[in-house]
Symmetry: C2
Amino acid sequence: MSTGIRVTPIGSIRTPYKTLDECPKGPDENNGKAKIELLPNYADGLLKLEAEEVDLLYWFDKAPRDQLRGVSPHDGIERGVFAMRSPHRPNPIALSRVKLLSISGNILTVSGMDCLDGTALLDIKPAPRKR
Amino acid sequence: MSTGIRVTPIGSIRTPYKTLDECPKGPDENNGKAKIELLPNYADGLLKLEAEEVDLLYWFDKAPRDQLRGVSPHDGIERGVFAMRSPHRPNPIALSRVKLLSISGNILTVSGMDCLDGTALLDIKPAPRKR
């Protein structure tokens, strides 16, 4: 097993939220739209992206990584970090499935995101078709 | 934006597949079961994990990272890497939603996975409840 793995931001997520207190708890299509700015050198990777939904992976760089338990803001119950989707986890890689509304060059418009403006984007994957 | 981010394996995924040729194309509950061996020091993070399904993030360490297009094995069509869930992508973080069958200490049993035996695990997240 490798002792460390390096990942590279491929773009950034633009939202209206400038502080953590402003961020909603979880992505929600009722929270307007967000822009995904892919770095121009990755734009060719969007060829034939026609999915209705995409899974976005992004990086919560302000999250503590040394917590193994937390209290959910939804119900006040203490759980392990792997029983929550909170950003407080050993590898604070966030995952949200959002609606893909449009693509223009290297910019994607998607349904509402919950992260800080400027959050580092790690990956875009088409969501599997619904069964 | 950060120029590099370091992630750490938190465990490994045990499958019957010892070579890439043996790996099925995509996770499938018809492909038996897989074991997730969380490193013991992370086991406390499983507290109250009761989800029926979990999203597993793992690392395709053998995948090329410099490709922006590829040909799907399903239909032979060339697409951008962000239009496919193939492991060939700038950050080869794989994502699979699988059924969580049981937990015993630091070992999870889940439905069939598609990765090599010993693949590095990066995260476990409970799947959102179905709407």
